[in-house]
Every structure is written in C-alpha cells, then in structure tokens.
C-alpha cells in the first residue's frame, strides 16, 4: 500500500513519541516528560468527551430533554447526590446514592461471583476421569489443587502427611507463578516488539519515500 506524506507525518510524530518514552531508560529527561504529559492530556480529553457523549448525552439529555422520559430523572438525581461528596457539610446526602449502588451491586454481583468463582470451579474440579492423556492431565491438576489447598490449612502443624501434601502444594503454586511470570514476560516483550516493528516499518517507509 502506498504511504502518503500525511501518513508519514503522523508516523514521524508517533516515532518521536516512542523514542522519547524509551529515553526514560537512560534517565529522566525533558523529552520524556513532555511526551508523558502530552499522553495524559490527550487521553483525558478523549475520555472526557467520550463520557459526555456516551453517558450524559445518551442517558440524560436525549431521554429527558428530547424524548421526555421523565423517569430518567431518578438516576440523574442519584448521580447529582454523588457530587455532595465534595461538600463537608452536605456529604451525607451522597450516602443515599451509594446505598443504591452498593445494594444493587451486592444483589446482582455477589451471587454470580459465587457461582462462577466457587460453585462452577468446584464442579469443574470434580468430574469423571478418563483413561487417556486428558484424564491424566486432569488427575494431576486435581492432585495439585488438593495439595495447594492443604498448604493453606493452618489448623495443624505441617508435618507427616500434611507436610508432604503442603510441600507438593507449594511446588504446584510455584509452577503456577512461574507460568504466570513467563506469560507476563511474553506480554511485556510483545509491547516492545510491536514498537520495534513499527519503527522498522517507519524507517522503511521514510527511506522508500525519500529515495
């Protein structure tokens, strides 16, 4: 695809910003500070306008002012009450809005959190074992799970059988943390790689356009 001078100009800005951010590795400097503040400013401006159009405009202005759906004024009033947090004397008014918010959150989210995080997880850990590699893998995971749980059983000293299982448990946990660390490294490297590929493509495009 042909790269235009306009695209190249934007890419130049992006390349400058990338290098300025990376310059922090050598030490704090004005270029880094400038780009950091530029980023904060741009994202704040973008998010503010996005929230205005997707929240205030869509959920307040259009329903109330244009469609005359007056019941929308109830959540609007609750939202306004939240702002009383800023007043030392009238701050207590915000508790009504918070009470609604916490009540709804508790009622809706806690049962679902239990279902997904506890009940379905227990169900997933207890099921028939098949006589193949999948079954063996499942059995190992189950063993690791029981041993890991035993590590957090503090009502007895970790000696004898409990000592053995808790030892296997801590090894299982370490394997888990190791996998997490490896994947984290992969994630961080991916960010770096994407920037390197971008810079390489930018230099190629620039050279292609000039020469």
């Amino acid at each position: 695809m042909e790269v235009t001078w306009g695209t190249l100009a934007w890419q130049t800005l992006a390349a400058f910003a990338t290098l300025a951010i990376f310059s922090f590795l050598i030490g704090d400097n004005p270029l880094y500070k400038f780009v950091e503040r530029l980023w904060v400013g741009v994202t704040t401006g973008y998010w503010t306008m996005l929230l205005f159009w997707t929240s205030f405009w869509d959920k307040v202005w259009v329903p109330v002012m244009q469609q005359h759906q007056w019941h929308y004024l109830i959540p609007v009033a609750l939202g306004v009450l939240m702002w009383f947090r800023l007043s030392p004397r009238r701050g207590w008014l915000s508790r009504y809005a918070l009470a609604f918010y916490i009540g709804i959150s508790t009622g809706v989210f806690i049962p679902l959190a239990f279902k997904t995080g506890v009940f379905l997880q227990v169900e997933g850990a207890i099921r028939p074992v098949t006589a193949d590699m999948v079954g063996l893998n499942f059995l190992l995971a189950l063993l690791g799970l029981i041993c890991s749980l035993s590590y957090f059983f503090f009502s007895r000293h970790h000696t004898g059988l409990l000592g053995v299982t808790s030892r296997i448990g801590i090894i299982t946990l370490m394997v888990g943390f190791g996998a997490g660390f490896g994947l984290t490294v992969m994630g961080r490297v991916a960010l770096l790689v994407q920037r390197v590929i971008f810079l390489r493509d930018y230099v190629t495009n620039l050279a292609g356009k000039i020469f």
């Binding site: 929240s55 997904t116 995971a141 996998a179 994947l183 490294v185 992969m186 490297v189 790689v193 590929i197």
Partner: protein, 286 residues
C-alpha cells in the same frame, strides 16, 4: 594473603551491574530478527484450536458477537488475534455484532473493523454492526442480556439500532452463537460472570499474556470454550487460518528476547547462590 574486598568479587559485580547494560543487551536481542530474519515453529494448543473450530463451524448467516474490550496499550498482543478471527468470521459468512467496552478502544476498534471489512468486501449494517462503547462494562453486559438496544439505542455512528437491517432479528445473547471477548483487563471476568453464568451464552476469550494464567481454570471448568493467550496465541491462530500477521511476525522477536532473559536468569541465580554461600562461609569463620 589478604582477602579480596566483597565488592570486587565476580558475583557481587554481576549482581550490581548497571541495569542500562541489560536494556542494551535486550535491545540488541530485539533487533536481531530484523537484521537476521528467521522463523519459529509454533505448535497449536487445544484451547486456541477450539476457538478456530467453532468459527469454522459457523454457517453463513449465523450471528457472532465480538467484544473488542482493549485499548491501544494492549494492542500489540490483542490486535493480531482480533483481526484473524474477524476475518475468519467474515469469510465464513457470519454476521458480526461488535462492541468495544474499553474507554480508549472504540476508535482503534473502528479502524480495524473498517479495514478488515473493506478487504473482505463486507458492508456495515448488512454484514456487521459496530455498537461502540458504553461506560461500566459489567452493567452494559447485563443490560445487553435483555436487549442490545437497552445500552445501545444507536450504533457507534449514531444510527438507530432498530433501523439497521442485520439487527432486525438480533435482540440479545439468545440470537448469537457465542461471544468472543478480546480483553486487556477484567472485562473478561464480567463476560464469564454475566454473559456466561447469568445468560448462558458460550464465551471464549482472547487475553494478554499477563492475564492468561488467571483464565485457564475457567477453561478447565468449561465456563469458556476457548482461550487465546497473548502474542503466542495470536501466532497459533494465524497458523490455523494460514495468514501470517503481526502475531507470527512477532514470534522470532519473542524467541530471541526470551532466550536472553533466560540466560540472565541463570547467570543471576548462579551469582546469587555463590554470594549466599560466601556469606555463610564468612559467617561460619567468624
């Protein structure tokens, strides 16, 4: 003979090396595949293949929901897999409903969707609908369970959803075959909790490498039917769809960088053990 001062011992020097040397060596390792290109063989994992098989099983006219729930900070890892799956869904003739529940994501998502749709010859509002962004993803996901029109009366471009041709028979999760969420944060949990557990819609996830290990238990418990972890997952998916993209291009860089990090870890651990032994010996001598 006088003992050498602690600071001049090899392990002390190794453990107190200026970190900028490490950055420099890593930079060289990252640049290596640019100078000497090489390819890395990639094995396909079951959790990635199950997502591929699911999309391959879609019939023309089936509806798929894609949630592009990340922003430019995780673009490097999640864009390649999103592009591969969106392209595959279009090629299967599926109709795609798309949202973007990360606040900095909509413009980025829109650029990707428009580009892939143009390349695949697909039309907005006929073959796909981009609903855009609404704040509070948990509440938005719950509201979409009754009707997509509740949180999204209009699409990203301001078109009323009721007037969009492909949305005439699409109202909620019952009308889509599955939700595939590409998440750079805890929106993935919300899809599992509210999308799958409450409304029963099958969910698959594409997540960043950092998040991946947290979501494998959901695979085991079958709360999600597939998981694409980070750039490696994207590279696997690109192999399956036989179209090389950013994921595959990034794997040689991952390989060289990981090798360097592994070497660093081994050297540092040897130095650490040597230092600990020396200190124990010194403590015993006193």
């Amino acid at each position: 003979m006088e003992a050498r001062p602690e600071a001049t011992r090899w392990y002390d020097r190794l453990l107190s090396v200026d970190r900028r040397w490490i950055y420099l060596i890593l930079a060289i390792a990252v640049l290596l595949p640019t100078v000497i290109p090489f390819s890395v063989p990639t094995g396909i994992s079951n959790e990635v293949r199950s997502v591929y098989n699911f999309i391959e099983g879609l019939e023309p006219g089936d509806n798929l929901f894609l949630a592009i729930d990340y922003d430019p900070s995780t673009l490097a890892e999640l864009h390649p897999m999103t592009e591969a799956i969106l392209r595959q869904a279009f090629q299967r003739g599926a109709r795609v409903v798309i949202t973007s529940l990360s606040q900095f994501g909509p413009a980025m998502a829109e650029e990707l969707i428009a580009r892939v749709a143009q390349e695949e010859g697909k039309q907005r509002n006929i073959d796909y609908t981009f609903l855009g962004y609404k704040p509070y993803p948990g509440i938005t996901i719950l509201a979409m369970g009754s009707d997509f029109r509740v949180p999204f009366p209009t699409d990203y471009y301001g078109t009323p959803v009721d007037s969009i041709p492909m949305m005439q028979d699409i109202h909620n999760y019952r009308n889509v075959k599955a939700v595939i969420s590409f998440a750079g944060g805890n929106v993935a949990d919300m899809w599992i909790q509210y999308g799958n557990a409450k409304y029963g819609v099958p969910v698959a996830l594409g997540v960043t490498g950092v998040m991946a290990s947290d979501y494998y238990p959901y695979l085991q418990s079958r709360q999600i039917f597939g998981l694409i972890p980070g750039m490696k997952g994207a590279a696997e998916y690109e192999m399956l769809v036989e179209r090389r993209g950013q994921g595959s291009r990034g794997m040689p860089y991952q390989m060289s960088t990981h090798l360097v990090i592994l070497v660093f870890m081994v050297i540092t651990n040897i130095a650490y053990v040597a230092q600990r032994r020396a200190r124990r010996r010194a403590a015993g001598a006193r």
